[in-house]
């Protein structure tokens, strides 16, 4: 490589790294959220409105009847319950490896949102189970592992809010999040590894989805809409947490100034 080519590669690497570190700066991050959030919220509303319309105009399933409409919300909630934990796991790596405060903020802000989607996955699954299985709940591997996920979300929520020292609680929560990530493949493959009442995967399969397109499209649009909604809520909650940290830093500064005077 010539020295000129080497300089070009180095300068482009530096520019990418400076752009990334610029985004990791909380003030710049807040500016970005302010610009992106209305658009993301708008896209979420449009997708969810279209998804809702498609969900209630889709034909009934030949076996499930009208209860198939519960699947259009239950399945996205279940996916998001795992996606939120995956986002938290990436953030936990950011906390433990780079000790970046924005990573702490991302994990703390995602926990209540992930917990809400997991709770909804459990409730809507239960409301589907009663007419289809004849029971609201069974302790099979899929339902139990998702229930464990919900309990772990509550643990992270408690841990990120229990200690005065935000950095210390972030590190403790990061360890819990990474250990808890072991549960994600257990949830995904529980229906293959054990004999469960819960049906196996119908969308993400090596041999393609087994759902008819008339039911797959509403599901896809709802899943996309709820994913956009997750990121809208997550970015908003992250900016709230950054503001909360600013406020507590300013209060500490004010208390110190009062003490010095």
């Amino acid at each position: 490589m010539t020295s000129e080519a080497y300089d070009n590669v180095m300068s482009s690497t530096e520019s990418i790294s400076s752009r990334l570190s610029g985004l990791a700066n909380p003030t710049r991050f807040l500016d970005l959220v302010r610009r992106v959030l209305p658009w993301l919220a708008g896209v979420s509303v449009i997708l969810l409105a279209a998804g809702l319309y498609m969900s209630f105009t889709a034909p009934e399933d030949y076996q499930q009847g009208t209860t198939v409409r519960i699947m259009f919300i239950h399945v996205p909630f279940a996916w998001l319950s795992m996606m939120a934990w995956s986002v938290m796991a990436v953030a936990a790596l950011g906390t433990l490896i780079w000790r970046h405060p924005l990573a702490d903020v991302a994990a703390k802000a995602a926990a209540p949102i992930g917990a809400s989607f997991t709770l909804l996955a459990l409730i809507t699954g239960s409301l589907w189970g009663k007419p289809m299985w004849g029971t609201y709940w069974v302790w099979d591997a899929r339902l139990t592992s998702v229930f464990v996920l919900f309990l772990m979300y509550l643990g992270v929520i408690a841990l990120t809010r229990a200690l005065e020292d935000a950095a210390l609680s972030a590190r403790a929560a990061a360890i819990l999040i990474l250990v808890g990530a072991i549960n994600l493949p257990v949830i995904k493959f529980s229906v293959d590894w054990w004999n469960t009442l819960h049906q196996p995967a119908a969308v993400f399969r090596l041999d393609g989805p087994t759902i008819h397109p008339t039911l797959l499209w509403p599901l896809a649009i709802m899943a996309l809409g709820f994913t956009c909604l997750f990121f809208t809520l997550h970015l908003a909650a992250m900016s709230n947490e950054i503001l909360a940290r600013r406020i507590s830093a300013m209060r500490r500064l004010a208390a110190r100034q009062t003490g010095d005077a």
Binding site: T27, E60, G65, T66, T67, R69, I70, I73, H74, F77, P112, I113, S116, L119, L120, I123, T124, L127, W128, K130, P131, L229, L233, A236, A237, S239, N240, L243, A244, R246, I247, A249, M250, R251, L253, A254, Q257
Partner: protein, 52 residues
């Protein structure tokens, strides 16, 4: 809609309630933080990195 319509409507109603409550909580939290920040700045307290 058949006789299972109650389960379908119940699922959607619970979802609207939980997501609505979550969104309201985040919105209210934002307003509270903004008001607290404005009150501190009005009292002349500035962040170290916010000083000129």
């Amino acid at each position: 809609m058949t006789d299972h319509a109650g389960f379908v409507l119940g699922s959607y109603a619970v979802s609207v309630f939980v997501i609505g409550a979550l969104a309201l909580w985040i919105l209210r939290d934002h307003r509270t933080r903004k008001a607290e920040l404005a009150a501190l700045e009005q009292a002349g307290i500035k962040r170290r990195s916010g000083k000129p």
